[in-house]
Symmetry: C2
């Protein structure tokens, strides 16, 4: 059921300096910033050879990563995202194993325009896990 | 300089139940547990299509993940590991960019028998990052 690791999402307070760390220090390819007002974040992607890091900076007054950054002002891993080929099957699997889907339990359109759900970190070894249909 | 994401390491209190989550609920391939007394952990790998999750359970009285689990009893992402082709070059790059290598600044032989260094999380967007020479 589990496909590729799509990304590791890292919340950062300052997207420019965070991008510079990977671009300048490590010579990584870093995408241009993309503001996603509906998701309350501005993002860039850092390319690795087999996956990517997604750096997230809060955008607007109600960013879903604002509280995380209050607790972790230096930044930190916010979630990781695993691709699945069928989001409804993933939701069924979660339900059958008592893994709580956040929100109303239904997929939303994620930051990349694809259906996603997030599973409660307490049910996933303390990690916020996103499933994205590909 | 940066190669593949080798793994995301997740600290867990109970390796058996953590393995079961991925093996039974998500039908993932999970390796047999490997005790690594020199590293103070017992590990399993969960295979994803392009990388893996490494689940770490404390082993012995001086486990490097014991404190992390005290703070995060439900578990959590401990570090992620990026492959590099030259660990000495990675150390030089870190030094040139004021990124602190943990320990004595020299590579150690990591859990997979290859030279590794860890970079201070405060210098890496709040994330403990391992570089492993491949």
């Amino acid at each position: 059921m589990l496909g590729k690791l799509n990304h590791i999402a890292i919340a950062v307070a300052d997207l420019q300096s965070a991008s510079d760390l990977y671009r300048l220090a490590f010579d990584a390819t870093v995408s241009a910033p993309q503001a996603l007002p509906d998701h309350g974040v501005t993002t860039v992607f850092v390319e690795l050879q087999n996956t990517k890091l997604e750096l997230l900076e809060p955008l607007g007054n109600d960013s879903p990563i604002a509280k995380f950054l209050e607790k972790n002002p230096a930044g930190g891993i916010h979630h990781y995202c695993i691709e699945v080929d069928d989001i409804q099957a993933a939701i069924k699997t979660a339900g059958a194993n008592n893994l709580r889907i956040l929100g109303n339990g239904k997929p939303k359109i994620g930051a990349h325009g694809k259906p996603v759900v997030f599973v409660h970190p307490k049910d996933m070894l303390g990690c916020l896990v996103e499933f994205e249909e590909t």
